[in-house]
């Protein structure tokens, strides 16, 4: 990973609200950022362990609902005259609960689904998201059904001199999303560069070989799913506390597809991929809004996705690096030829 590039990128993103304090731009960047966090989480599973999860919207939605319900308070009728009453919790506790709960669901799905691979795993994850959507639509006592949950409190921050403030301004939401996004990015970066991450990549490359050298496949797949789900849950929690209204549509397949497009377009299995892909596909709807209708916009999405898969199947970021390498090629090969006759001898 290129740290200089990373810092420049972060500093530019941090300064954006200062140099361009347009609330519209900031809110667009904020919502794109939330989807980028979700894409980063999907990339861990899809890019680094090679498992295509098409139910990632489920984790996003579970995070959103858990965080919203915890911060609003809820009661579940357990039958036999018993109810489980939960009072409204402070928003940050609700947010952290959402991460833990989605992590648990990730463990559950990972544990259950990784008995199977490939197409079967994909279908299990889709089914899981569908069941979650049905539950959110029909369990009206808890989720208000299609009406959705409203007036979800915003996340808060303690500022010296000001006390506790609600993060409701566009700039505040932008910085919050950015901060959590950087945390998610660093977490994934640290993970994939660690022993655990290398084990995951080994699984992606050749599962049989990885098993034969003693890598506990199920353990690492479950670990990746838990972390991936938890990050997606954090994105969902962020979504519910910044948009402050959620309905069962958060579980829609189209959200998963958006995450998948972001990862694939940017380059799966690269750290920068979901960020670049996410910026392109997160901002594209806003650029296209007003120019074309939502249907045409989705057609453009779909065509772009197919084109990338057909012509740049590895994604934009690897293609960019390849291009750089191609530009530098004559320069780098020249000294090697003159310096080392050994290499040349070995080659010929």
């Amino acid at each position: 990973m290129n740290w200089t590039l990373f810092f420049v990128f972060v500093v530019v993103l941090c300064l954006l609200p200062v140099v361009w304090p347009d609330p519209y731009v900031l809110s667009v960047m904020g919502s794109a950022g939330i989807m980028i966090i979700a894409a980063i989480s999907l990339n861990l599973l899809l890019g680094y362990t090679g498992q295509l999860s098409l139910g990632h919207a489920a984790f996003f939605g579970i995070g959103a609902y858990t965080s919203a319900l915890m911060s609003l308070g809820f009661s579940i009728d357990l039958g036999f005259g018993l109810t489980w009453q939960v009072d409204a919790k402070p928003v940050w506790i609700a947010f952290l609960t959402a991460i833990v709960v989605t992590g648990f669901f990730g463990w559950l799905v990972g544990k259950l689904a990784f008995k199977v691979r490939g197409a079967y795993f994909v279908v299990i994850t889709i089914s899981f998201a569908q069941v979650m959507r049905m539950i959110s639509l029909n369990w009206t006592d808890l989720t208000e059904g299609p009406m959705g949950l409203i007036s979800i409190p915003a996340l808060t921050l303690w500022v010296p001199g000001e006390g506790i403030i609600s993060l409701t301004s566009k700039a505040a939401i932008y910085w919050l999303v950015l901060a959590i996004g950087i945390l998610a990015y660093l977490l994934v970066a640290m993970l994939v560069n660690s022993r655990q991450g290398r084990a995951m990549i080994a699984l992606r490359e050749n599962e049989t070989l990885a098993t034969s050298v003693g890598i506990p496949v199920t353990y690492y797949l479950a670990l990746a799913t838990i972390i991936s789900a938890a990050i997606a849950g954090a994105a969902g929690g962020l979504y519910s506390h910044t948009v402050r209204i959620i309905d069962p549509d958060v579980f829609l397949f189209i959200y998963t597809v958006t995450m998948v497009i972001m990862v694939i377009a940017g380059g799966k299995g690269t750290l920068g991929g979901p960020v670049i892909g996410g910026l392109i596909f997160g901002l594209m709807p806003e650029l296209l809004r007003g120019v074309v209708g939502p249907e045409v916009q989705w057609v453009i999405y779909g065509v772009t996705m197919i084109a990338i898969l057909l012509f740049l199947p590895r994604g934009l970021v690897p293609a960019f690096y390849d291009f750089i390498a191609w530009l530098r090629k004559p320069g780098t090969e020249q000294p090697r030829k003159s310096k080392s006759s050994l290499v040349q001898g070995a080659k010929s």
Partner: protein, 290 residues
Amino acid sequence: MDEIFQHIVNAMVLGSTYALLGIGLTIIFGIMRVVNFAHGELYTLGAYVAYGMVALLKLDFFSSILVAAAVGMLVGALIEFVFLRRKDLKNIDEVMLIMIGIMIVMQNLELLAWGGVAKIIPTPFSQEPISFGSISIAPTRLFVFGVAAILLFIFYLGIERTRFGLAIRATFQDQDAARIVGVNVKRIYTLTFALGSAMAAVAGALLAPMFVATPMMGDLASLKAFAIVILGGLGNLGGAALGGFLLAFIEEFGASYISSAYRDAFGFLVIIIVMLFRPQGLFSVKERVG
């Protein structure tokens, strides 16, 4: 007791179209190893072609089903020829994502062409249900069941009794061996995709008069087709037919005796449960994919 018979009749009608939907998907998967996410959109396409023919061109309902089948076949062949022919089909994830892209494009083109308002497809049958004792059934449903049953039978004969069916079965079992004995595998691919797509389009044209045609109907249809195919075992033709009926029975009885709100959720719960205990499907021998 009569109530149970009524549910059985309803489930049989629904099951016959589910079987068509499932067979279309499973033949494509079985032969090409392509998980066809656009299947539901071909189903929607069938429904809309039938609607367009009946409502706009004033064609009769029966010929409109044939037109739907032809259009489905053509679009299927086109998808295979343009997008899949050049791709290495062994890369299952990439092909799957291409199919998702096609799904998005088709769905939104349909939305663009027909608008979001649901369309009702007129049929020449009377609305008056036919009664057998205490069991009643709408004539449309009876017709749908009849056509679906005939198509399933023709499909069975085609696979089991013709040379083309033999080539398909050979490709199904072992592609390389089929190629060696002179089967044109590429042509089989195109034909398979066209055939599977035509099945989905016919299922759409048949089912639409029972419900309504909406641009989003493909989403649920795709997922149900997956449920059916997984119940039967991916790539198992007989299993897909049985899976279709099984899913219809689960939905019908689950909706009437457990909860009608969760009607569509039962299928997915069953998928998850089947996957956990018999990932190779209920009617299949063990095989791993991916």
